[in-house]
């Protein structure tokens, strides 16, 4: 049956509702790219999501449409997802600062006690 719609354009298109058209072929998806957006000069590029594109140039074009259509962007990077080498969440503990590495933290450096003691001794 040909689709009859309230929208005259759809009726005019003469679409057969029994058709099996439109099924995707395996290669329709292209690459995936990860998108990084810089909101204004001077700030970091931040990962905002991903998209499908056949190459980097079109990925930038799609990224502009998808992630930057309301301004608030001065620069975009796209990176092929397959080129991202990432750590595993399973190994999250590699980032834990162990107690014996406290010398990396600013707050372990406390000199006031020593200065006060020194001054007190000088004045005595």
């Amino acid at each position: 049956m040909i689709i009859k719609s309230l929208d005259p354009r759809i009726t005019r298109a003469g679409i057969d509702d029994e058709s099996k058209d439109g099924i995707q072929q395996p290669m329709d998806q292209w690459h995936t790219y990860e998108v990084f957006q810089q909101k204004k000069r001077g700030t970091h590029h931040v990962h905002v999501g991903s998209l499908h594109a056949p190459d980097a140039e079109l990925a930038v074009l799609f990224a502009k449409e998808q992630y930057a259509r309301r301004g608030q962007c001065v620069n975009l990077w796209v990176v092929k997802t397959s080129d991202v080498f990432a750590t595993e969440y399973e190994d999250e503990d590699i980032f834990t600062t162990t107690p014996e590495k406290k010398y990396r933290e600013p707050e372990v450096y406390k000199v006031m006690d020593r200065i006060q003691a020194f001054k007190a001794k000088q004045n005595s």
Partner: protein
Amino acid sequence: MYGNAYVENTGNINSLTAGEDPVKLAEFEARIAAGEKIEPQDWMPKEYRRQLIRMIEQHAHSEIIGSLPEGTWITRAPGFRRKLALMAKVQDEVGHAQLLYSACETLGKSREDMINDLINGKSKYSNIFNYPAETWADSAVIAWLVDAGAIINQLTNSKGSYGPYCRALDRICAEESFHLKYGHDNVVFLATGTPKQRQMVQEALHRWWPPLMHFFGPSDKISQHTETLMKWKVKMASNDDMRQQFLDMYVPKIWDLGLTVPDPNLKKNETTGKWEYTEPDWEEFKRVINGDGPCNKERLAVRRMAEEKGRWVRNAILKKDAQYVAPLA
């Protein structure tokens, strides 16, 4: 809705956790209880993955199909400014679908599989889009009240446990505020206009009220199943709670314009603080969601035509070396 207004596809599984490693399951549940997000690379129960794929995929399809009833009004929108605004809204909705397809892909279902399942009728989408937008006033009511319902659902789900879905929803919610204000503006314009315009918007509201009451789905059955999905933060609120929130926020705004809804029993019970209403016709809901609604065939046929007519463009820019990998996050 997207997330909850569908007939649940639970198969014949007895328990959502059957066969899972108890140690890993306990770690997973502790992480969620502590308010942490689950990322694609993390271990997750099979049923968590399956339920999320089903939910996010249906949400993505709803965005795509949902843009059709409104999209038909672009060429006939009254005035250039409204035409531009409606085009922008429809583009947003299609963009929402893209964000959601990407989020769903991180769980292991490819985008072409999802699109195929939509076209061949295997996957569902929000039932409300199986109804026609008869007049311009219908498109106004959709943009205001259907989007209002969607926002309640999406804000609720954005507090869920799956990282990529939450991040997509955060972006989506930011754009929805424009849809809501644009829709309200259109409804107010008609409701405060000529008697003919007022009549148009009143009739549209009467047409859309029953599907709006269906929007969040039937009351949840209290079951182990629902409890587990709530514990896993896949389901974030009961369908009835979201419907109450919708009524509470929007019925006063409808009445404020002197418009009515076709339910004489609708009123807020001041003692309980809950809205009382005539129970929606859930038989109709089931019939329509299973294919027998006024626009089911048209929606899928139009989607199929779009895929078919766009194929030469996709093929023209296809690179031979293109290798699909799932998105990262």
